[in-house]
Amino acid sequence: MFEVIGERINTSRKKVQAAVADRDADYIVDDVKKQQEAGAAFIDVNAGARIGHEDEDMKWLLDTIQPVVSLPLALDSPDPAVLELAFNMVESEPMVNSISLEKDRFDTMMPFLEGKTCKIVALCMDDAGMPASSQDIIDRADQLVKDLTGIGFPVSSIYVDPLVQPISTDITKGVMVLDAVRGIKAQYPEIHITGGLSNISYGLPQRKIINRTFITLMMSAGMDSAIIDPLDEKIMATIVTADMLLGNDSFCMNFLKGVRAGSIES
């Protein structure tokens, strides 16, 4: 079953930042309830944009969100101190977003993660920058899996983000990431593949149709999670439909449920 990580609670979004600054709990509550209803599997919480306020903002967001949704949270921060605070507040096993092979990030995240039980987003990024080939992505994913399983994380708790790059500046970037996803899944069948998708359409018009088409290709290659806006009805309908076509929707029940609810139409 495909898992959507709802990306909306992020203080780099203007309205969320204003709501957080004003401690407008109603706005946040309404937003996360809608994400849950729309089918999100996790609610991502990023409080990083108001520099100097990340810990208090994260704390307030968790206090505000947890009583009203039953979904697990994706704690989204590069700062282990903020993550530690958040980790101690969550009521169910969270996802941590994220670790990468960038030395500073890796060296601070590994001691934080050691001994903890959570899902972990692993970005295929290192100090050389964005991956340059399919093999590069596969090698980085492999390294992250080795490091994380080495401190006790089961492969099934790892959500690899292969880092989708724009097709507008290099026409091979779509195939590059698709090949990498197939390679990673072949090596580690239990692993999850996630990530944002909208980078693929950077620099092009009519971006959403590119994103929607691309997610079906990614799902076919083995992507089983994505960090997206669950209130985008069209992409959610595409995901449910593609998931059915890939054999992951027993008796087509989710698809039919979506059709009856009016969220899926031709």
Partner: protein
């Protein structure tokens, strides 16, 4: 009189065959390589920049025009050398410390280069002191700082401060850009300009160089 408008149009239309024949025709008629470059190709890229800014042209088309132009530049380069150097603007461009993103920065570099500027693209994750060193080394007139992350925007401020402390601030114009960057942020950190896309960046750089 060479038809520079036709050269401009062929470039904007990415018509390599037509452009090559127009450029060769102009040279045969006695037009100078400098004029073909400035009145034809660079003028054409100015239009491309404007169309990109207004959303009429998209990144792949801009890249294709740049490639079309570079083929013609190969023909013109030896002749430009013979005609003697003209005064050009030196631009230093890089992504600030802690940030490894380069797609947008490279697009800006390409647009400035296509606009006739002498561009030194020094890469990503550039320390403030490195920027200072490169300004001296390249005798830069314009410095372009790029950041894609909210977490690396403060490094833009640090870089500008380092340039000020080194005493070079008055010698250079500083432009900033990248997804989270705004005009307000540019003003706050004492940059000379901000551009939201590569097309506007080319226009801004010309204005700052003038």
């Amino acid at each position: 009189m060479a038809n520079y408008d036709a050269i401009m149009e062929a470039l904007v239309a990415c018509d390599q065959e037509k452009l090559t024949s127009l450029v060769n025709g102009a040279l045969e008629e006695g037009a100078s390589a400098n004029d073909i470059l400035n009145k034809g190709l660079i003028a054409g890229m100015d239009i491309v920049g404007e169309k990109m800014e207004s959303g009429e042209m998209f990144i792949p088309e801009v890249l294709m025009t740049a490639q079309t132009m570079s083929v013609c530049l190969e023909t013109l380069k030896p002749l430009l050398g013979e005609e003697g150097d003209t005064v050009t603007t030196n631009v230093l461009i890089g992504t600030v410390k802690g940030d490894l993103h380069d797609i947008g920065k490279n697009l800006v570099a390409m647009m400035l280069e296509s606009g006739g500027m002498n561009v030194h693209n020094i890469g990503v994750d550039i320390d403030p002191q490195e920027f200072v060193r490169y300004i001296k080394e390249t005798d830069a007139d314009i410095v372009c700082l790029s950041a894609l992350l909210t977490t690396t925007m403060p490094a833009m401020k640090e870089t500008i401060e380092a340039i000020s402390e080194s005493g070079l601030r008055d010698q250079v114009k500083i432009m900033v850009g990248g997804a989270p960057v705004t005009q307000a942020f540019a003003d706050e950190i004492n940059a000379d300009g901000f551009a939201p896309d590569a097309g506007s960046a080319a226009k801004l750089a010309k204005a700052l160089a003038a």
